[in-house]
Subunit: 332 residues, 2 copies
């Protein structure tokens, strides 16, 4: 089985690649080749694997370059590449070019390959496809009413993937990811970054700025769960999906205040004291679009997707996976 | 006020242009110029008007040509041009190129004009953006789950128009039109054409083929109402719409059987006898996606959009507007 990860240089793409390297298989099939494509040079892949791992720099906004990723007909494709929400809002043209133009070029490359080529394509969307006013709950069938350009691009991409799948050009599945938390590494331009920042930085003893009110809610899953979703989607029987191939993934709903309470339980008052409240009107405007009610992922649950069930668990997984099981902030 | 109608050579575009020629105004503003753009040469415009009427052949799938339609900065733009549902299903590339590429190029032309240029753009979408399984009712907030490429293209266009409007590049409004019935003239490639054919042909004494079961439902409004919707949308206070600028238009729900019953009441048994039932599996497959429940257009109603309330009225309006108030089929 040949696997292509578009966005293979990103945080989730790298974790997924590591997982493949360690297991050597996807489902019950041996992996024969893994290609990591990204707009920027992917860091050298140092995990030993029993299959070749190739890194390519590829600008998917160029149709010919997108096409070149499919010359060796990968059996399984992950499309994780995206301009994040804050950047898509700040740079209108880039957002549409990468987030909508990218998947358009990928789908067209697959369709134009022809000769019965019909790979599984796992695409990551986001809860940013939703917008208020809300009903009591949000589920798979809640209407798409994005309030950001990023959410619009993801919603349009979902519709496109559904249609290409319905027409038989690709075997697509869209995962509407919760906000990934705790996101490791440096802050990125995602508007949702603050929900990770206020946990990640204090845990290592660094002050974090909270630019929004404690009442701001979001919907969370760990990087470990995100990788689990992708692996599960890779081998899922897509005939179970019907025509709506977009699935809301499971996660944990909580407010900034809930996050802080969980951080206090897991790491104590001194760590929580490192969070400084400095409201930023621009961030608060964006968050006002995300006053999410509860999410109901029963369709994904029944298909076997799983995630954490508490914010405490989410923080502990970060400590285990990224900090070697210790809280460096407590040792300062 | 300068007005541009893209799709100005089509049935609804021509009726709208005639209406403008007769009134000389739009809302309370005098019209100073009307441009009718279409992919094909628009028939010569013979209605006298007190403003110049210009026809242009323009392929909106070409960004530069789309841009050329905006050099004189029309104040009001109607985008009615589309590849119809049957054709978009049969010709995948053409459907996306015209139905999604077209509005993309138009929105980009407007955005790139800049200098505060922000026209009202009235865009016609369709109830084909919906798909089952349905709730009891469909309203503006029912989720977009198209089951055709045409419906997908319209749904994606709606999202794009919402985002360009939210970003302040255009003052857009989308009208989700019911199936236009009775559509005058020759049958076109719209899958929904049969709902008009079985009324239009018998009324002039010609046999009509019914390729689908009598139980097939649809949602109807006359061409007269469609023009009324467009005129109302042209001057509506769009600040009332919030971020969701797509409005389900009012109409009459009914099945093929309801249409036949109404035809019998309006025109008699001899006219109804001209309908021949010849099931076509391809048509029935397409209609299976359109097993619409009732539609609730309360948002549009409260904003002042109006339509017919019975199928009898719809048939009578066709007789009045297209047949000079008589039923030629009765005179044969």
């Amino acid at each position: 089985m040949k696997i292509l990860i578009i966005g293979g240089g990103g945080m989730v793409g790298q974790k997924l690649a590591h997982k493949f390297a360690l297991s050597g298989t996807c489902g019950n099939q041996a992996i024969t080749q893994l290609t990591l494509a990204d707009a920027f040079a992917v860091p050298e892949f140092t995990i030993p694997s029993n299959f070749p791992v190739k890194s390519v720099v590829a600008d998917i906004t160029n149709p010919a370059i997108a096409q070149s990723l499919f010359t060796d007909k990968p059996d399984l494709v992950f499309h994780l590449a995206a301009v994040v929400s804050g950047e898509a809002e700040a740079n209108f043209e880039k957002g549409y070019s990468v987030n909508l133009g990218g998947i358009t070029n990928i789908l067209e490359a697959i369709r134009l390959t022809g000769n019965g080529y019909k790979p599984r394509l796992v695409f990551t969307s986001s809860v940013a496809v939703y917008g208020g006013p809300y009903r009591e709950n949000i589920d798979d069938d809640f209407h798409l009413q994005p309030r950001t350009s990023y959410g619009t691009q993801k919603a349009m991409s979902e519709l496109l993937l559904n249609d290409y799948s319905r027409r038989g050009f690709v075997d697509g599945i869209t995962l509407r990811l919760p906000t990934i938390c705790v996101r490791p590494g440096k802050p990125n331009k995602a508007a949702s970054g603050l929900f990770s920042n206020i946990l990640r930085e204090p845990l290592v003893g660094i002050e974090a700025i909270l630019p929004a009110d404690k009442s701001a809610p979001n919907y969370f899953a760990t990087p470990r769960s995100a990788v689990g979703f992708l692996l599960h989607a890779a081998t899922l029987d897509t005939s179970l999906l019907g025509d709506n191939r977009a699935l809301l993934m499971p996660g944990v709903w909580g407010t900034v205040g809930d996050e802080i309470d969980a951080l206090r339980r897991v790491a104590g008052d001194d760590i929580v004291a490192l969070i400084k409240y400095e409201p930023d009107p621009a961030v608060e405007r964006m968050l006002a679009n995300w006053n999410f009610p509860r999410f109901v992922s029963s369709r994904a649950n029944s298909l076997g997707f799983t995630a954490e069930s508490t914010l405490d668990e989410i923080i502990q997984i970060h400590i285990d996976d990224e900090l070697g099981g210790k809280i460096p902030g407590l040792e300062k």
